[in-house]
């Protein structure tokens, strides 16, 4: 097994993108060094390893950086093969589905408007968010996970956002479980996996973080 300083993760504790990587590493049982970054005050290591975007997370393996969370998860899947099913399905069509939905999450999941806005704009943002979850519920159907029987790449792309739901519910005065019960069932199912429960921060901590962000924005 590679020594832990062969694998380094630069991350910010509240980042859902970083959590995707943490989940993937945990699924594969990879030991790694975790370096917490202050994204408001970026370290020289980060700037050296991700000069293009200067963003987190960055995975550094044998001194070489890999950036962009979904790309990192694919890298992890291709580099560390275990007895468990791979994170991306082996069937090319299902693999394409997994990639499509992970992309969809990247393109569409954005609920920060719920705490950045008020009144009509906020109501619109809340509705868009619920509509989005309903689309994802449709994709789930009767399946335990987004693409099929196994927890994988598409689930990993989406699940980290669930720890923000508590904040969204309080600030937006919403009840997500009531509107999208199937989706919350999926969330709970994912949370039963140690890789997920150990990688996601406490929703109360996220709520405090959001309150801080709102204060900075003058809300």
């Amino acid at each position: 097994m590679a020594s832990s300083n062969d694998v380094v993760l630069l991350n910010f504790w509240a980042s859902p993108f970083g959590e995707r990587v943490e989940i993937a590493l945990a699924e594969k049982g990879v030991h790694y060094d975790y370096k917490e970054e202050d994204w408001a005050d970026k370290s020289s290591l980060l700037l050296q390893m991700n000069p293009v975007h200067k963003k987190l997370p960055v995975l550094i393996h044998h001194g070489k950086p890999i950036c962009e969370s979904n790309i990192i998860v694919q890298y992890i899947d291709e580099t560390w093969q275990t007895e468990d099913p791979p994170l991306l399905p082996s069937d090319p069509y299902l693999k394409a589905q997994a990639r499509f939905w992970a992309d969809f999450v990247d393109n569409k999941v954005n609920f920060s408007a719920i705490w950045r806005t008020k009144g009509e704009e906020q109501e619109r943002a809340k509705k868009e968010f619920i509509d989005l979850l309903k689309v994802l519920e449709e994709q789930l159907g009767e399946k335990p996970y987004l693409i099929g029987e196994s927890f994988g790449y598409a689930d990993i792309a989406l699940i980290p956002f669930s720890c923000w739901f508590y904040a969204v519910e309080i600030i937006g005065k919403m009840n997500i479980e009531k509107e999208c019960p199937k989706f919350i069932e999926w969330v709970k199912r994912c949370m039963e996996r140690e890789s997920v429960s150990k990688s996601l921060p406490d929703p109360h901590k996220i709520y405090e973080y959001v309150l801080e962000l709102m204060k900075k924005l003058g809300n």
Binding site: V52, H61, I66, I71, Q74, Y93, K95, R99, F100
Partner: protein, 225 residues
């Protein structure tokens, strides 16, 4: 594979459909091309891609795949001859990174460039040039293509800029592919677009220019109303 039914729903003026065609042709996959009228989308398109309602869509034995880069990876994994992505996971990650970089950074700037004032256009063009300059930093002077001696995933994911950028330069009257500022990038685009399989798919440039100029003019007209 014999007996495979492959259909590509596309639009002749779409760079994203074009790069899927490049992938299919490099692999020697036989396919039926279906031209979509984007102002009047077919029931077939709406059925296959209800979420985005966009082209390209690849339909393989009745099953649809959407999003051009996802489609290209699907093609690479299904038809294993002449691989497009490298074998090494790190190199694969790097190819994917640069393909995504271009889509995420350059495409929105093109859309933004239809801003109304001259000053705004010039500012956005400058940002776009910097994006291209960063892309250039990914190229290796010693390799003709990003994929090495033969075209790879990154080359076909990005080469559309070599066609669209000069066209936008004419339409919007801005500079993007500065030969002096990014010589390696210019050479790379020229080399990729010269490859026969790539070249023979490129739509007629005057038709493309007319189409996008018309689109741009109509867009600018709505903005000034």
């Amino acid at each position: 594979m014999a007996g495979d039914k492959v259909k590509l729903l596309g639009f002749w003026g779409s760079p994203f459909a074009l790069r899927v065609e490049w992938a299919l042709r490099l692999k020697g996959v036989e396919y039926e091309y279906v031209e979509e009228d984007l102002s009047n989308k077919s029931p077939m398109l709406l059925q296959y891609n209800p979420l985005y309602k966009k082209v390209p869509v690849l339909v393989h034995n009745g099953k649809p795949i959407m999003e051009s880069l996802v489609i290209i990876e699907y093609i690479d994994e299904t038809w294993k001859n002449r691989p497009l992505l490298p074998i090494d996971p790190f190199e694969r990650a790097t190819s994917r990174f640069w393909a995504k970089f271009v889509d995420d950074k350059f495409v929105p700037l093109i859309i933004k460039m239809s801003s109304s004032t001259r000053e705004q256009k010039d500012k956005v063009a400058e940002e776009a040039r910097e994006v291209l300059k960063t892309l250039e930093s990914s190229l290796n002077q010693n390799k003709p293509f990003y994929g090495g001696k033969i075209l790879g995933f990154m080359d076909i994911a990005v080469a559309w800029i070599g066609i669209w950028a000069p066209m936008l330069e004419k339409i919007i009257d801005i500079k993007l592919l500065d030969e002096e500022y990014m010589p390696l990038l210019n050479t790379w685009f020229r080399d990729v677009l010269e490859v026969l399989v790539i070249k023979e798919c490129i739509p007629p440039l005057d038709k493309l220019l007319a189409h996008y100029k018309d689109y741009y003019d109509r867009f600018m007209a709505t903005k000034s109303n």
